[in-house]
Subunit: 297 residues, 4 copies
């Protein structure tokens, strides 16, 4: 059981579950969150609370961050008492948030200038997967640094996939994965509208496909919920879905790749936000398909 000191910044639903797992595995974890209340349970479990992002680096050399978006990561990293200036030479910033590849590139350079190392390891999985240590991790960055965080990553997830030496590449993989999920939602939503209009059970259709051709977590979990319009539990905000699709489109533009499915998803999400669903679960993007088909109920 590790007794290594690590820092952890960002205690949203995902971050709390991840930091808690580190504590339970014996890590000496110092946590920071803008809203300090969210640190209470962790402190109770044995973590130490810091008042500034930079403090979490004290006495240790590895800091994890798990925040909502580019702005939040820039704030905790580049602000006063931020991670960048606080990390000692040789320190590692293990950045697990879903952010833009461009910001990953910028932070990689800045950390190198401070003799620390920026690693990217964005995660796939909802908060319950995080709690169950069943995240999937895409990692990229310097080889030696990746070896140093390997035990930590193993503590947090069930599988690690390595995409080389440049951190931003893991971020491209992460947003590509979210694009694939959103594409699956749109295609399932279109099928469900079609079969519903023909008096075929949406549930029977997903039961078949999720046991056969598409026997995978996404088609099974998302597919069943969308089939039954079971949207009460909010796992991932629709407006963050748009953020990620637009990160894909931005990267695709820079890379000169037309992505018509991504564009269609952009319009779908924008339409749902316009119709008041931005704060709902992103599966409700399929509401727009229903509305276009006159199925609004």
């Amino acid at each position: 059981m590790s007794q290594e000191r690590v820092g952890f910044v960002g205690l949203g639903n995902m971050g709390q579950a991840m930091a808690s797992n580190l504590v339970q595995s014996g890590y000496q974890v110092t946590v920071y969150n803008r809203d300090a209340k969210k640190a209470e349970a962790l402190v109770h479990a044995g973590a130490t609370r810091a008042d500034q992002p930079g403090e979490v680096a004290r006495g240790g050399k590895i800091v994890l961050s798990m925040v909502a978006n580019d702005e939040a990561l820039e704030a905790v990293t580049l602000g006063e008492n931020g991670l960048l200036e606080s990390l000692e030479p040789g320190g590692i910033h293990l950045s697990m948030s879903t952010i833009s590849p461009a910001l990953a590139q910028k932070l990689t350079k800045l950390h190198a200038q401070h003799q620390s190392t920026y690693l990217a390891s964005p995660v796939f999985g909802r908060p319950e997967a995080a709690a169950a240590r069943q995240l999937w991790l895409a990692v990229a960055g310097e080889k030696a640094a990746k070896e140093r965080v390997h035990a930590i990553l193993n503590t947090l997830g069930q599988g690690i996939f390595d995409f080389g030496e440049e951190p931003y590449k893991a971020n491209i993989v992460k947003i590509s994965g979210n694009f694939l999920i959103a594409s699956a939602m749109e295609s399932l939503g279109e099928v469900f509208a079609l079969v519903e209009k023909n008096d075929i059970s949406r549930r029977a259709v997903i039961d078949m496909f999720s046991q056969t051709l598409f026997a995978s977590p996404i088609y099974k979990n998302y597919g069943t919920k969308i089939a039954e319009r079971d949207f009460n539990e909010i796992g991932f905000l629709l407006k963050l879905g748009l953020k990620d699709v637009d990160l894909v489109l931005d990267q695709a533009k820079q890379s000169q790749v037309p992505m018509p499915f991504a564009s269609q998803l952009h319009n779908r999400f924008v339409g749902e936000i316009a119709n008041g669903n931005g704060e709902r679960d992103w599966m409700e993007m399929t509401r727009g398909i229903d509305r276009d088909a006159g199925l609004t109920k």
Copy 2:
């Protein structure tokens, strides 16, 4: 081991494998194919060859058909010495081809007028799955008739999914499945172009997703082949992919359901046919994504 007499019409790659499995399981199979040569191996294995589609119904009450499209099914069913006029009262036409829901509805009525029963049981799986009795079957039609063919379906596939009393509904499920596959191909193709332009391994990306979020046959098999542009084996013609997407769009129009992903797929397939790939495997629809991204090699 069954010794029931059944007829079988249509000995393409799929039909041959399926008829062969019936013979091996002890059925007395009479086969018909427009091109009689394709019956030779089956006759050698114990099947009887018929010279007319209608002959396959002789002495038995169940006839299976597995042909390429609507036109072929109409020819063997409605033509002179066709299945419709040859099936005795009480007979069953078990139609397994991928055809339009509209033709299924028409044939359902005509069989009822002849006191026979039309059942739909389109299949999912490539020829190697047919040979290995690993097809997935969507079945719909009269309850009693479905019970009578149950053993046959179990002989042919690994799973049966029932979509009720109206045969055409199974056809809608079938074409919906092909649409889902094509959507997965497009979304993967877009991701592969994006990652390739960023010097990330296409293979590494599909390896991750097909072991995690999308751990399913389609993402694994199709995804890996598309990642590696391994298109030499032709499992399903691109021009037939367009046929199926257009069956979806036709049904969606009648059902008043806009399906933007299906429309995008229509344009993708049309573009590939215009660029000379209609007789290639339908995975080569992703060539158009590469071409748009300037990745043509």
Copy 3:
């Protein structure tokens, strides 16, 4: 002033206006319409009423047809006492309806087999333009026949454009024109939603563009009505708009041309029909843009 005998089949809003102009210009017009009541005003003005489509050909050699769609033209042309069997050798069927290029090709052949000539001359313009002899005409077919109908076309419209010897080409031009109009409607609708959301007057925007870059009848007339959501007058049914867009898509598929704008329009029209607007004016396709933007009022 001509006193030539001509037949005229199809007395909808367009046909009545056109036949009336022929009568006023001195032609001896025999008219047929399925619903005979619509012939009353014309008979009063001097036309003769026929009880069968074929009768309109009696004593004359030129018959015009102006009906709603392929089915209607097939009925009056190929049915018993239809135009095809009634036209004498040397007769001309001047077909002005908006129909599929495929039907035009079929009728061209059939007329040739009967030693008569099929000419296509579909028209652009709403009923008020027909009444004012301000239609625009696209004509195609045999040269000699085109010369024989030239005076008639001049009586009906303000401009004639010749697209060669094969009638169906004029039909392709006609449906292309309707596609261009629908594209202009969609693009204007998107702009109007954008400016309205930014508190810019939709009317001021169309006033600028329709006096400058896009100073043309379509942008001015359609644009102003769409800007003001002035949809009470029904000039062309939305469901017929879908019919024409789909004729374009059918021809494009045969011709192996992906047309993404046409596909988007298809989905827009299907969505509006699903939302109950199929019998409204086709400008109301822009309702879908408003709905997606949360502007439904």
Copy 4:
């Protein structure tokens, strides 16, 4: 004939023509351009050359700017010796570039804080229209300031359209106009591919439409050039076309308006840039339509 002193920043093809017209109309014009060579002809004609953007404001109260994009306008306005700090209280910055509505909002506020006034008056027209004083101008901003620049605007263009008190609204109208032009190009390009595949003259088709339904400068000029693939003269760079479509998409996202035609145009332009045409005229976006249809020549 005015002898008013005005400043002018930005001497690209458009700016040179506009500044020259001001000189010819008697204005005392001080010009600045990053590359001073481009000022030579104007100095020869009577203008004064400045070495810094801010210098052009000296002794006068009205400064026009006509630069390539947001970055260029920020540089000349907000940099050291920039327009913002040099304009005296009461001065007017008449900004005629095609920029983002967001930058217009930012500059409006900053000028107000400096007691000067920011007016937007983006223009429609290619360089030859600028030379011929035939630009169309969309203007927005403070009423009094608009009156003070009215004579200048009349000197530069043939028509002025007022969109109220908030400058950024004129920028939304400007980018909306470019979106309408691009939409017209795409729809014409799709039609041309369709008719070409059916052996119908592209030129004959545009001749008809540009004299009838779409008798307007854009359909006539752009349409004829696209029909004939006459792309040698580069009037507006394709990569700038993408910039403007993306300004529309950005504003649409903020305004919560899905714009599927704009998304399709985005993909078209990105695809053409990927295929090496970013520095060609933006009409060459239609190359992608040809390529998809197998018409590449």
